[in-house]
């Protein structure tokens, strides 16, 4: 596997790569462009407050990882550093692909949709293609991915005309339109009502299985983590407190007793029972 440094960080030597992972092979075949992630000795301080304390983490290409923990445990900070939104105080992040050459394309879905209210739904999705893409090509790509998230008929609407769940689906479409190798999800369903959240979980699971990208989901919802992820990581005070494989086939049914048991185990770990 060819490891390419995150633009901000230097690549790390192979022999440094001796840390244990719960990285069992992903349950779903990874796409050739899916990105692997390698994190070494990551630290982040905000003044006196140390949020991340020497974090090591390996995520194989195509894996769906959920990061959970109490608020303030550093899970959002970890994701922001992975995406280059914040700089680490120390440590390194590297992305790699199986196919080689270019660094995998990484996209993020935020908790809020962050759509541009003055662009139509289709033009918002085309933002995800980046610069220098012809308008007509952008529209075609946007229409395609919009039908993927079942919003094809809303292409010409303004974001203000959509419901909260629909806006978040547009945000997901914007992230997916460039066929990312890595998709970061920062509590993307946190602001949605319970029923919308369940259908969004199904959508996320379906697109992940179809497109085979690597997904890193930060969430405070343990049941969501267990339903979507191959692997759940519990962060506590800036360290990995638990790294748990979820070896169940997708799609997963709500109310599956084995998953409920895992959920209980994770909750106990988070709450310290």
């Amino acid at each position: 596997m060819n490891v390419i440094a995150h633009p901000r960080f230097k690549p790390i030597d192979k022999d440094n790569d001796k840390h244990s992972t719960a990285g069992q092979e992903p349950a779903v075949a990874a796409a050739p462009g899916a990105g692997a992630i390698r994190v070494r000795g990551l630290e982040k301080r905000f003044g006196d407050n140390q949020v991340l304390r020497g974090l090591d983490l390996d995520i194989p290409a195509g894996q769906f990882v959920a990061v959970i923990g109490k608020s303030g445990c550093g899970k959002s900070t970890l994701l922001r550093i992975l995406m280059g939104l914040d700089a680490p105080s120390a440590g390194s992040v590297a992305f790699g692909t199986a196919s080689g050459e270019a660094a995998p394309n990484a996209r993020i879905v935020f908790q809020e949709p962050r759509l541009l209210p003055w662009l139509t739904v289709a033009d918002n999705v085309a933002v995800g293609l980046g610069e220098g893409v012809a308008k007509a090509r952008g529209r075609t790509a946007a229409a395609q991915v919009l039908s993927e998230v079942q919003l094809a008929e809303k292409a010409g609407d303004w974001p203000a005309q959509l419901s909260g769940g629909q806006r978040q689906r547009v945000a997901l479409a914007r992230a997916l339109v460039s066929k990312p190798g890595i998709l970061a999800l920062d509590e993307p369903l946190g602001a949605l009502d319970a029923l919308t959240r369940i259908s969004m979980q199904e959508l996320l699971n379906r697109v992940w299985r179809e497109l085979g990208f690597t997904a890193v989901l930060v969430t405070h919802d343990v049941s969501e983590a267990v339903h979507l992820a191959d692997r759940v990581i519990v962060l506590e005070e800036g360290r990995i407190a638990m790294d748990l494989a979820v070896p169940h086939p997708h799609p997963r049914r709500h109310g599956n007793p084995a998953l409920a048991e895992l959920e209980g185990k994770l909750l106990a770990a988070i709450l310290g029972h």
């Binding site: 995406m83 280059g84 939104l85 996209r107 993020i108 935020f110 809020e112 962050r114 541009l116 209210p117 003055w118 662009l119 933002v127 995800g128 980046g130 610069e131 303004w158 974001p159 203000a160 914007r174």
Partner: protein
């Protein structure tokens, strides 16, 4: 327990066609309501003039004003003066508005530019620009430059302030999104910052339109050889109250036209915003 017969009393009931008719007639009424007060005032005014309660030396009757409008229009004086005044107004708006807009954008996006010029602009803003009239006459005389200078100066500040605030208040989350989705500076400005600041820029523009007419009226009355202000001032010397009132009416109409045009632009540029969508 024995069943009890429930007795119902109708507390509200509307037949579908009745409800619709009531709604429609209310709409028609609301459409005419804004014109009720002005029409009543003009009717009373005409009544007062015709009955001789108001001297025509103090206030001409509405009919006299309409006649003055007809005479000055047929003589070609009014169209010429309107063209001159409107030309000055919009030249000033263009020059002052452009400078204010560019400074607002620059100071909104660049910390350096803001540090360099904002304090100076805020100090200049507190000086009433009309207080510069004596100085401006000394500099430029009563030519076109003095009017252009004053209107430009007047419209500069509202445009500057609102553009600056609009840019500063663009949602930081959207800017972060733009960056992480790979937008360069120019794309970020074009797709995120400028449209985000636009509602505020329009507030500045509409405010500037008010100041534009005000400045023009004052400077044309004091120092001009053409334009509506000059026409009014000239009429004063000959005690032609009808022409004086006519010029006030013209100012009011020009102001209204400019505001309606600005609103139309606002509605079309901000049609994404639910506040500006027509119901």
């Amino acid at each position: 327990m024995a069943a009890v017969d429930t007795h119902f009393v109708e507390v509200r009931a509307v037949r579908a066609d009745e409800g619709q008719r009531a709604g429609r007639s209310r709409q028609v009424l609301e459409g005419w309501l804004p014109y009720l007060v002005p029409v009543a005032i003009i009717a009373l005014w005409q009544l007062g003039s015709s009955a001789g309660w108001i001297s025509s030396r103090v206030m001409p009757s509405p009919v006299d004003v309409v006649l003055a409008f007809w005479q000055t229009t047929t003589s070609g004086q009014l169209p010429k003066d309107i063209a001159v005044s409107a030309g000055r107004a919009f030249a000033g708006l263009f020059v002052g508005g452009s400078i204010g807009f560019l400074l607002g954008i620059a100071n909104g996006v660049s910390r350096l530019s803001e540090k360099l010029t904002d304090t100076t602009l805020q100090m200049m803003r507190t000086v009433p620009h009309l207080a510069l009239i004596p100085l401006v006459i000394l500099w430029f005389g009563i030519g076109e430059e003095s009017k252009l200078f004053l209107t430009s100066l007047g419209v500069l500040f509202p445009v500057y302030l609102n553009t600056y605030h609009g840019v500063r208040n663009v949602d930081r989350d959207l800017i972060e999104m733009g960056r992480v989705y790979g937008m360069g500076n120019w794309t970020l400005f074009r797709k995120v910052i400028f449209p985000g600041a636009l509602p505020s820029i329009f507030v500045g523009l509409r405010y500037a339109l008010g100041i534009m007419w005000l400045t023009l009226i004052v400077s044309e009355s004091i120092a001009a050889s053409s334009g509506i202000g000059h026409m009014a001032n000239n009429a004063r010397e000959f005690m032609m109250t009808d022409v004086v009132v006519l010029s006030l009416v013209i100012y009011a109409l020009l102001g209204k036209v400019a505001d309606v045009a600005a609103r139309a632009m606002e509605r079309s540029a901000l049609r994404w915003n639910p506040t500006y969508q027509q119901r």
